[in-house]
């Protein structure tokens, strides 16, 4: 059974379908990178998967059951989205942000701070005053505290220096390996994404333009370039 499964999903805003007839299944412990140029529909996939957006056709299932209608219920059951806006609260302190996210005991907080030691000295600071990298770290910490079973991460590297990204991405990998979490990673930094993912899917105009194992895609860079800049990948590149 897949932890997260999208079957024939079409979704979008108003008249426009940003994603058309998409199939995607992610198992526990697997990291899937969702790639593609801007406007390809990656964010729409994540918003649909967490229930923020109802698909106009098709179905989303988590742990074999249809997705609950309420987002908050969904996230309490462990389907966690870290959106590109990061879902952190700038007026609150780091500690307050984390306290909202914890599902269980306050002790969890220490465990997460162990994993993200750079956050520890900042807990009493207001989030608005943190750097972009620190905010992203907080967003990830918030997601970890929520004890995710399906983790959807949108543009972890957005606006961050490459070094900061290299610090954050491995955490996601560890989460899949050690805690058996299903991870979907939307990323514009292709090489970094492929370095942590097991599998990758490249979207273009809302459809799958290319998909395959991360290793294969790393080997065939020309196919990725085509999918980005050329629009349509050659038929034989489709896996």
């Amino acid at each position: 059974m897949s932890a997260l499964e999208l079957k024939g999903v079409t979704a979008g805003y108003g008249h426009a379908a940003a994603v058309r007839d998409l199939d995607l299944a992610v198992s526990a412990g697997e990291v899937v990178a969702l790639l593609g140029p801007n406007g390809a529909g990656k964010t729409t996939v994540l918003r649909t998967a967490v229930g923020l957006l109802a698909p106009s056709a098709g179905e989303v299932r988590a742990f074999g059951r249809p997705l609950p209608r309420k987002v908050e219920k969904n996230s309490r059951e462990g389907v966690i989205l870290v959106p590109d806006s990061r879902a952190i609260f700038h007026q609150l302190t780091v500690r307050e942000n984390l306290s909202l996210a914890r599902r269980h005991r306050a002790r969890d907080l220490d465990a997460v701070l162990d994993r993200l030691p750079r956050l520890a000295p900042l807990v009493e600071r207001r989030v608005g005053l943190l750097s972009g990298g620190e905010q992203q770290m907080l967003a990830l910490a918030k997601a970890l505290l929520a004890r995710p079973r399906v983790l959807l991460v949108d543009e972890l590297s957005l606006g961050l220096a490459p070094l900061a990204v290299q610090e954050l991405l491995p955490i996601v990998r560890t989460l899949a390996d050690e805690s058996w979490v299903a991870v979907v990673l939307v990323e514009q930094h292709v090489d970094l994404a492929l370095s942590v993912a097991d599998r990758a899917v490249v979207l273009h105009h809302g459809r799958v333009a290319l998909s395959g194992s991360a290793a294969d895609l790393r080997a065939d860079r020309e196919a990725v370039r085509q999918a980005y800049f050329g629009g349509h990948a050659p038929e034989d590149a489709l896996v």
């Binding site: 908050e72 989205l81 700038h90 609150l92 909202l100 918030k142 929520a146």
Partner: protein, 649 residues
């Protein structure tokens, strides 16, 4: 010195109520993004429930009542039940009205909460014995000496209570997880949902708790403030002023500002007893204080006052610009004329009043429906017109047509002044400014004895080319010539307004209404166009006010109260605030118009009028934001579509 101390402490009672209302407004805004105009009414209901219990032992509900105890209930029971009633009213307001409207346009939210405010204030005189009940003292009645003054212990206790309440509320938001989550919801509701919290439940809790606190402070303070079927409702204005001074952020600051307003008003009262204090500033000056404060606060903080993010705002009800339909226009004018000829006495007066009210309704359609600027001051502009009409006809002897123009131009100037804040603020904040301005004008200008001659505001009857256009002639209550004059004036102005609506000005208005940024990006001067809208709207209302003045021969301040203004807003919204037809229907439904005459004269239930209006407003806001005329148009478009479909098949 001792007098100063005395008056400062005298302000504690009212100031404490302001303080808790202000704190509650900040809290509710944080939890839901709504500015709750009904917060004062929530207090009003609790105060009366407690007073009735304390007097007769009966628990009064909106429908029916329950005898809880024989004879007067013990003070503690009365307070507890009163507090619970306030809390329940607040919770119901949230669940039945504001929550369904959480993604509705700000206009719907503002009129809905104004509807709740009016609903309670119309219900109180119907449900409670407003002459018999007294607020029995709950607190010790003694005095203590403080800095040489004999100060009532009760006032000090109320003050302490209010401060504790504000502190508790602030602590909830500051230190608890739920309070933290509520603050987070103010920043981004979607992010909070993604974090696993339900913003709706957090909001319900805040509504219930602030309803209870507001009820409690008002009930405890009511023996020293006094019982009154209206005043608590308008305590929301100083509360709003204080909340805006605190930038809708700090509960404690809001409480302090509320208290300061109460104390300052009390000091103004003290000043007015001194000889040097000018006569004109003796009455109503305290009520201008919230207005001035709101203006200053909004001017200084401007955009720093948060508007809620994260919730997608729905569109305003759609507008279809009026088409040229001379036949329809002729039919309406002819049938109105026929209605004038066929009626007499009270009915004819009702018809003529409806025509005049239609003009004022039209000013609201133009400003609020077309330009999207929420104004609660239309009746104050009308009143300004009527008030000056009395001056220019009796003191300056200005003849008829000019006597309409000059006061209307003065109203226009006032409209521009009230419109200036609209260049920096919008939505609910603008509604607060206009409401505060309306109340200030009402009490400081209309209600000020210094501005009113001993014999009242007489108005010289109009005449044209030697022909009398007076409203009364012997026993005839409304003359045909007066009715024709009204019809001509209103007809001409309506014609001009319709041309504006379907012309360049209307297009620019609608562009600004739907998107100010985009309007600026196509070259529209947003600021100038807004002022134009305020100016013309106030002009229409000013003329309407003059016509009301002429129809009474003497200006009655009661025609122009804030209460009448808000009721008129109800009828316009119910009729359809986005169309010319809506203004016409609103005229029929308006206070003292045809419907009111029918309820009063034929059914004998005139006292239910404002209750019905408020109820209709709330229902319209929640269920049918396009109003009566909008649904008629939908229905007819639907019929035409079906007929066309049948014709083609």
């Amino acid at each position: 010195m001792d007098q100063l101390v005395l008056f400062v402490t005298l302000g504690f009672g009212v100031g404490s109520v302001y303080a808790v209302i202000a704190s509650s407004l900040v809290a509710v805004h944080a939890a839901t993004g709504v500015l709750n105009f009904a917060q004062g009414s929530i207090a009003l209901w609790g105060v009366w429930v407690a007073a009735e219990l304390g007097t007769t032992g009966t628990l009064v509900l909106p429908l029916g009542s329950v005898a809880l105890v024989d004879g007067p209930a013990p003070a503690l029971l009365a307070v507890v039940v009163g507090v619970l009633s306030s809390a329940v009213v607040a919770l119901l307001t949230h669940l039945l009205v504001m929550r369904p409207l959480r993604s509705a346009p700000v206009l719907s939210q503002v009129v809905a909460s104004v509807g709740v405010m009016l609903l309670v204030v119309s219900l109180v005189p119907l449900r409670f014995d407003t002459t018999g009940a007294v607020a029995s003292p709950i607190l010790p009645s003694g005095t203590v000496e403080l800095l040489g003054a004999q100060v009532a212990v009760a006032d000090l206790i109320v003050l302490a209570l209010a401060l504790v309440m504000a502190a508790v509320l602030a602590a909830y938001f500051r230190f608890t997880r739920w309070g933290t989550a509520t603050r987070a919801s103010a920043e981004d509701e979607t992010a909070l949902r993604l974090t696993g919290w339900s913003p709706d439940r957090l909001a319900a809790l805040v509504w219930f708790a602030t309803g209870a606190l507001t009820g409690l402070v008002a009930i405890v303070a009511s023996p020293s403030i006094g019982l009154d079927p209206i005043s608590y409702t308008f305590y929301v204005l100083p509360g709003l002023a204080a909340a805006l001074v605190a930038r809708l952020r700090s509960i404690l600051l809001a409480a302090a500002a509320g208290l300061a307003i109460g104390v300052f008003q009390s000091l103004l009262l003290m000043m007015s007893t001194y000889d040097f204090w000018p006569i004109w500033a003796q009455a109503g000056f305290g009520d201008t204080l919230p207005f001035l404060l709101v203006m200053v606060a909004l001017f200084v903080f401007g955009k720093a006052i948060p508007e809620r993010g994260g919730v997608q705002s729905a569109r305003m009800p759609p507008v279809r610009p009026p088409r040229t339909r001379p036949v329809l226009a002729l039919v309406v004018v002819a049938s109105t004329f026929a209605a004038v000829l066929l009626t007499e006495g009270g009915w004819r007066f009702g018809v003529v009043t409806s025509v005049i009210m239609m003009l004022i309704a039209l000013s609201l359609v133009l400003l609020t429906g077309y330009l999207g600027q929420i104004s609660l001051a239309a009746m104050a502009f009308a009143g300004t017109g009527g008030f000056l009409l009395s001056r220019v006809t009796t003191e300056w002897g200005v003849p008829f047509p000019l006597s309409l123009v000059i006061p209307a131009l003065a109203a226009t100037v006032l409209g521009v002044v009230v419109g200036i804040p609209a260049l920096r603020i919008r939505g609910a904040h603008l509604a607060v400014v206009t409401l505060a301005g309306a109340l200030a004008i009402q009490t400081f200008v209309f209600g000020n004895p210094a501005f009113t001659p001993f014999e009242g505001n007489q108005i010289q009857d109009p005449s044209l080319f030697g022909m009398s256009l007076a409203v009364r002639n012997g026993t005839v209550l409304t003359t045909t010539s007066f009715a024709v004059m009204v019809l001509v004036v209103v007809g001409l102005l309506t014609w001009a307004t319709a041309r504006l609506m379907r012309g360049r000005t209307g297009r620019a208005f609608l562009a600004i209404r739907s998107n100010e940024r985009a309007a600026a990006s196509v070259g529209i001067d947003v600021a100038g166009t807004k002022l134009l809208g305020f100016a013309f709207s106030a002009f229409l209302a000013g003329v309407g006010g003059c016509l009301i003045g002429y129809s009474r021969s003497q200006l009655s301040v009661e025609s122009f109260t804030v209460f009448v203004g808000l009721t008129l807003l109800c009828t316009v919204y119910v009729a359809g605030i986005t169309s010319l037809a809506g203004a016409v229907v609103a005229g029929l439904l308006a206070p003292l118009g045809v419907l009111a005459t029918f309820l009063e004269g034929t059914l004998g239930v005139g006292h239910l009028y404002s209750l019905i209006a408020a109820l209709a407003l709330v229902i319209t806001a929640v269920l049918n934001p396009v109003g009566i005329t909008g649904s008629v148009r939908h229905a007819s478009e639907h019929l035409i579509d079906r007929r066309n479909a049948r014709a083609t098949s």
